[in-house]
């Protein structure tokens, strides 16, 4: 700690920080624009001016930009100095000289950093009396609206988009007071993290275009802390609602997981909640219909044995409620056999004690990264953003002697230039991270696994070596092995994306080889869905096992939880499965092929309409909270429905329904591997000064009028029995515990920039610790001692093509494609071939090829990916029209006469 004096008051502060972050950490209000806690200082906006004095007797001092000056022991400075104050206010007047007077119609109004800073500096009257500068706006695609006239040229957008996220199609053009931030010409912003611009931009230049479609001010939204549903990383989000529609997703800071940024799938995938195709009311097919839903269900439930099919996109609570309803032995994971095996393997590795699974944010500090068989940009996008930072780790460490502080972003970038730490990418086709990679391998999954085994062998000669590998590959493996061994924090990324168990085993083998006592290599696994890990931890058999069990009509009733089985297995298999039951109860929120088979269809709540817990890929249990009580009373959490069914079955009438906390308690009691889930968030009876935490900001408007079209008297607000949050604007106004923070707001800080008030230090972890509990999976798995099976090298087959699934950030996720914006960015179905295979078929790009896969026929246009090994074809994974392929797959390819 060093001692500094601010306006004559002494403070003990952390050394190595700049004055701006220090002041913010101390709770002092100092305005800024260009500085960003994740991106550091560049000194462009000149807003954070303070006075620094030579010593305690110096009364003159000099103005400095707080973001560009490090703290020094015995430093004297003043934030309130009149010159500094006047300069800050003048700076705002300069910015305002061209800023339009359009707050009232600006999407940013009410959560605008520029507004907040303007008020903070006291600038009120604009003396500039000349015409303002104006710009042409651009079309930037479905995610962002562009309004350049509002720009205050803080350069944050290009610094995030280009420098931080690696985007290529946004830049700053022109010069002097005409600088322009946009694309070279109108067009869709290509980077997968573009939506963060809406939060990075301190004013309304880049705003959320989907919010604009159903606009609501921040202060008018009912908000809740939530967890992203669209991949396995579990990024923390804030979801906002008004008038029964989900309006917006913004990043919720979690210092261990997503930090300040989320991907565009996570930000824009929410609109499935508002989909007109929602299941809106319980429906019972005529032949089962007893006239009354509850009677019908009661009679169905009483009728023989039930089988339960869980889901990796449903909460732990929902899966557990189903397991309890049907009984442990009749509960199955709703995922294919292959996927279940991969998941079980991954869990056993994660819990083996031989490797370390770093939290997402920690992967940014890996100094050597090996990615085996994953394309994180598409399968776990936020991880790709983290790996983009990881390649800077080594150069940043190397510059330790330069006296350049790490927060000095511009100087750091000038010094390290294009230096990169080692990142190796092994995937069948080019990935976006290849551009940062020190080396790449484009090979079949088998060969990627073999490459991994070879690396393991060069680290630990006891590990077996793959036979007949070519010398060049071995040389490369040896080199990587060498770098991994020298690394301080090596990281190996693999996962389920290619459905190849050997790749996972190879990753483990490398991790084992690198293990040195307490020091363990980092292993990050990408999983298919938001609760894949939670479901796998329940250790139930797979969907295919369920199919087998259902043969011969053992079960009268199947209960399918939030799962479209037609996306999990071939159509014929699923049809056959459904034929085995008299009753098919389906709980889901969107209509799909499985709901169309239901004899009883139950409208389930989405993540926005209910509470639950998800376990992410690092086994972090995180709670998401109900954002709003749906107007449609039929829409309820699956776990609530299932609990109710259980009561019917026992003959008790609903009335004594369980609350979420009871269910979690039972879950942990029944399955000790989930110990810790109960502390993922404070329980429902948590209060501060006897008060709940309001989901609505204190400026929430229209409370008395919002339902006046229904009845003029103000209805009682809905009661939340499952969480300490309230559906009102009344309640505790201070800072709630991190897992319960529904929005960021602090006096004078209306925009999301107020997050620093919630952090233990500016940019640091949230007060009271970052949310989520890492599950130790107590007593769950024994150490994986199975000897390594090294697969044979990939060989082209004469008759069939081997197929690899290629993940797509937009398209491969079941729910997000229901958002029109995301759907618009999804690829059309295609087949990718290398040049040799295309030549053999005499096909050129765009030709329609016919692919037959286990009875399914797809006519697909050809895309050439020359790096694909001969005999291997790539298909986009899980597009709505291409699901139900059992991976890994093979297919017969012909050129059609079309």
């Amino acid at each position: 700690m060093v001692r500094i004096y601010i306006d004559q008051k002494p403070y003990d502060v952390k050394p190595g920080k700049n004055l701006l972050e220090t002041c913010l950490t101390l709770g002092l209000d100092l305005p800024y624009f260009c500085w960003h806690p994740a991106m550091g200082s560049v000194g462009a906006c000149r807003q954070c001016a303070v006075k620094v004095f030579k010593d305690e007797n110096d009364r003159t001092g000099r103005l400095v930009m707080a973001c560009m000056e490090g703290v020094r022991d015995n430093m004297y400075l003043s934030v309130n100095d009149p010159t500094a104050h006047d300069f800050r206010s003048q700076n705002i007047e300069w910015l305002m000289s061209n800023h339009p007077h359009d707050c009232a119609v600006c999407d940013e109004g009410g959560s605008c950093h520029l507004q907040d800073m303007t008020v903070m500096t006291g600038h009120a009257y604009r003396r500039y009396r000349y015409p303002k500068r104006t710009y042409q706006n651009q079309y930037l695609g479905p995610f962002l609206h562009h309004e350049m006239n509002r720009c205050i040229q803080c350069y944050r957008c290009v610094r995030f988009y280009k420098d931080y996220a690696g985007g290529k199609d946004l830049d700053v053009f022109a010069a002097h007071n005409h600088v322009y931030f946009g694309r070279e010409k109108d067009g869709v912003l290509e980077n997968e993290f573009s939506g963060n611009l809406a939060e990075v931009c301190p004013t309304g230049v880049f705003t959320d275009k989907t919010l604009r479609e159903h606009y609501t001010r921040k202060w008018d939204m009912t908000m809740a802390p939530s967890i992203c549903q669209h991949c396995s990383l579990g990024c923390n989000i804030i979801a906002g609602e008004r008038y029964g529609a989900l309006r917006q997703i913004t990043n919720r800071f979690n210092g261990a997981v997503n930090g300040y940024f989320i991907c565009d799938r996570g930000r824009y995938g929410y609109e499935f909640v508002n989909d007109p195709d929602r299941v809106k009311q319980p429906a019972v097919r005529a032949e089962n219909d007893g006239g009354n839903l509850f009677e019908s269900i009661s009679s169905i439930l009483a009728e023989g044995k039930m089988i339960g099919i869980g889901s990796p996109r449903a909460s732990l609570e929902a899966n557990f409620a189903l397991r309890r309803l049907v009984g442990e032995e009749h509960f199955y994971q709703g995922i294919p056999e292959n996927e279940a095996r991969l998941m079980s393997k991954i869990l056993s590795i994660q819990l083996s004690g031989h490797v370390y699974t770093p939290p997402l944010k920690e992967t940014e500090y890996a100094d050597v990264v090996l990615v085996l068989g994953e394309d994180p940009t598409n399968s776990a996008p936020r991880l790709a953003l983290a790996l983009r930072q990881a390649v800077r780790t080594k150069p940043l460490e190397d510059m330790a002697g330069s006296n350049i502080p790490l927060w000095h972003d511009a100087a750091v970038r000038e010094l390290i230039q294009d230096d990169k730490g080692a990142l190796f990418m092994a995937y069948p086709v080019h990935t976006k991270l290849d551009e940062l990679a020190y080396g790449t391998l484009h090979a079949a999954p088998e060969d990627i696994a073999r490459f991994g085994f070879a690396i393991a062998h060069y680290i630990d000669s006891n590990a077996p070596v793959p036979e007949s590998m070519d010398a060049q590959a071995l040389e490369s493996a040896k080199h990587i092995a060498d770098l991994l061994q020298k690394a301080e924090r090596p990281l190996i990324v693999s996962g389920t994306t290619l459905f190849n168990e050997d790749i996972i085993q190879a990753a483990y083998q490398i991790g084992r080889a690198l293990e040195k006592g307490e020091k363990k290599a980092g292993l990050s696994f990408v999983m298919p869905e938001c609760n894949s890990a939670g479901l796998a931890m329940m250790q139930a058999p797979s969907l295919h096992a369920a199919m087998k069990a259902a043969e011969g009509g053992t079960f009268a009733t199947a209960v399918i939880l939030e799962n479209d089985l037609y996306r999990r297995a071939a159509r014929a298999e699923v049809d056959n499965f459904f034929r085995a039951f008299k009753n098919i109860i389906v709980l889901d929120h969107l209509q799909n092929d499985t709901t169309s088979k239901a004899t009883v269809l139950i409208p389930a709540a989405t993540f926005a309409e209910g509470e639950g817990t998800l376990v992410n890929n690092e086994l972090r249990a995180q709670r998401f909270f109900q954002v709003f009580m749906p107007k449609n009373e039929h829409i309820r959490e699956s776990w609530r429905w299932l609990d109710e069914f259980g009561q019917f079955r026992l003959g008790t009438m609903p009335g004594d329904l369980r609350e979420l906390d009871n269910l979690v308690e039972e879950l942990v009691g029944a399955m000790p591997q989930f110990k810790g889930v109960e502390s993922a968030a404070p329980s429902a009876d948590f209060r501060i000064n006897g008060q709940r935490i309001p989901r609505e900001p204190h400026r929430f408007s229209g409370r008395t009028a919002i339902l006046a079209n229904v009845a003029v008297s103000e209805p009682k607000p809905p009661q939340d029995t499952d969480s300490p949050l309230s559906f009102t604007m009344e309640g505790y106004r201070g800072m709630p515990p991190a897992p319960l923070t529904p929005f960021y707001w602090s006096p004078g800080w209306n925009s999301g920039q107020s997050v620093h008030k919630y952090q233990s230090e500016a940019g640091g972890p949230l007060r009271g610790g970052d949310p989520g509990v890492r599950l130790a999976g107590e007593g769950l798995f024994s150490v994986n001692g199975a000897p390594s099976h090294i697969p044979a090298a990939f060989k082209r087959q004469e008759q069939a093509m081997a197929l690899v699934p290629l993940a797509h950030i937009f398209g491969s996720d079941e729910l997000s494609v229901h958002s029109p914006s995301v759907e618009g960015r999804s690829p059309r179905p295609y087949i990718a071939l290398g040049s040799r295979d295309a030549e053999r078929l005499q096909a050129v790009e765009g030709d329609i090829l016919q692919m037959r896969i286990a009875g399914q026929v797809f006519d697909l246009p050809l895309i050439l990916k020359n790096e694909l090994p001969e005999g291997l074809a790539g298909l986009p994974y899980n597009l709505p029209s291409m699901s139900g392929i059992a991976w890994p797959a093979q297919g017969v390819l012909t050129k059609t006469g079309l």
């Binding site: 560049v42 000194g43 462009a44 906006c45 000149r46 807003q47 001016a49 000099r62 103005l63 400095v64 560009m68 006047d86 300069f87 003048q90 700076n91 300069w94 910015l95 000289s97 061209n98 003396r127 500039y128 000349y130 205050i152 040229q153 350069y155 700053v172 022109a174 010069a175 002097h176 007071n177 005409h178 600088v179 330069s402 006296n403 350049i404 000095h408 511009a410 100087a411 000038e414 010094l415 390290i416 230039q417």
Partner: protein
Amino acid sequence: METPLTQHISFDRPCYSLRDYEKNGGYQALRKALSLSPENITNIVQASDLKGRGGAGFNTGMKWSFVPMNGHYPVKYLIANADEMEPGTFKDRMLMEGNPHQLIEGMIISAFAIQANISYIFLRWAYKKAGRLLKHAMDEAYAAGYLGKNILGTGYNLEMYLHTGVGRYICGEETALLNALEGKRATPRAKPPFPQVSGLFGKPTIVNNVETLCNIPHIINNGPDWFKSLGKGNDAGTKIYGVSGRVKRPGLWELPMGVSMRELIDDCAGGMANGYGFRGALPGGASTDFLVKEHLDINLDYKSVAAAGSRLGTGTMIILDDHTCPVGFVHNLEHFFAQESCGWCTPCREGLPWTEKILLSIERGEGKPEDLDLLDMHTRFLGPGNTFCALAPGAMEPLQSALKYFREDFEKHIDQKKCPWR
């Protein structure tokens, strides 16, 4: 009176070829320098008290001494700043067109002193003739073994590249120049870190003005004491002084450092043109404060000009005569500065266009009394340290001094609602 810089320059004939330059003692300084240790050269230059001729006036040898010489930096750069874009300044052009080998020799010695193996000449785009001559001279120097590998058998290597900018004033700022050279936007960099430690491509780099570098061979040949003896008063060496504006003979002269303003205007430039009177002068380019009649007898060295409230800058003077409207004069300058702002920091990007608009409206007779307060505010808040680089503070120098010395002219515009000169 010795004129080392221009002794071989004559525009009555083509500039010296390598052979002619060698015949007249060219590259002797290089031969001598290569026999000295790099540190020794830096010490000599530091002892000579040569100050940067680009405008800032920092001791050149001291600047070099900040370059790490411990062998940890295999790549270092030397850059000649030939992006001469200061309005009223054309001295470097004369040096490059008049004797390109003098610059090249100075650069090789300087690069050797900091042990740089790569050097660049960052040349103003519009200097086509200088570019042609430099390219030719570089080819000659390469052919003669003064550039390239193993220079004169000493084992020292130096590559030299000619880089032409696209004509932005800000590229004269050494760190913006580095960014431009890297292919990035010509935005200045924050200092620290200084280029001597983290410069071009993050490597130790020295950027020196053309005139500064042209002095180096002569200092090596004749020693620091000789160089010091050239100056008249506070500063060492000679300086290329210039005068533009309504004088009888505008031009450039190599004179001892510290010549008086009156000598320069009356003796060299022949005094004011017939019918024109002297009102003031910007002594060293557009970004320096006005000096007026009362200053005519000051010596043009760094310290004396600073004491008079201005800066020697580039030493090339722009005269304001009594037939020219000072408001229009300053408006023209502010138009230039506003246009040349890189757009990086707020005060410069937004403040300069505002001052330009105010000055234009005053010049058009649309000014208001409170406009003068706004101009005063800008001169105060666009000062050094408040903006990211020195462009805006420089832009405020002619404005603040015009407001001081010619305030009644501004007031007349506002009172009469027109420009009294029109």
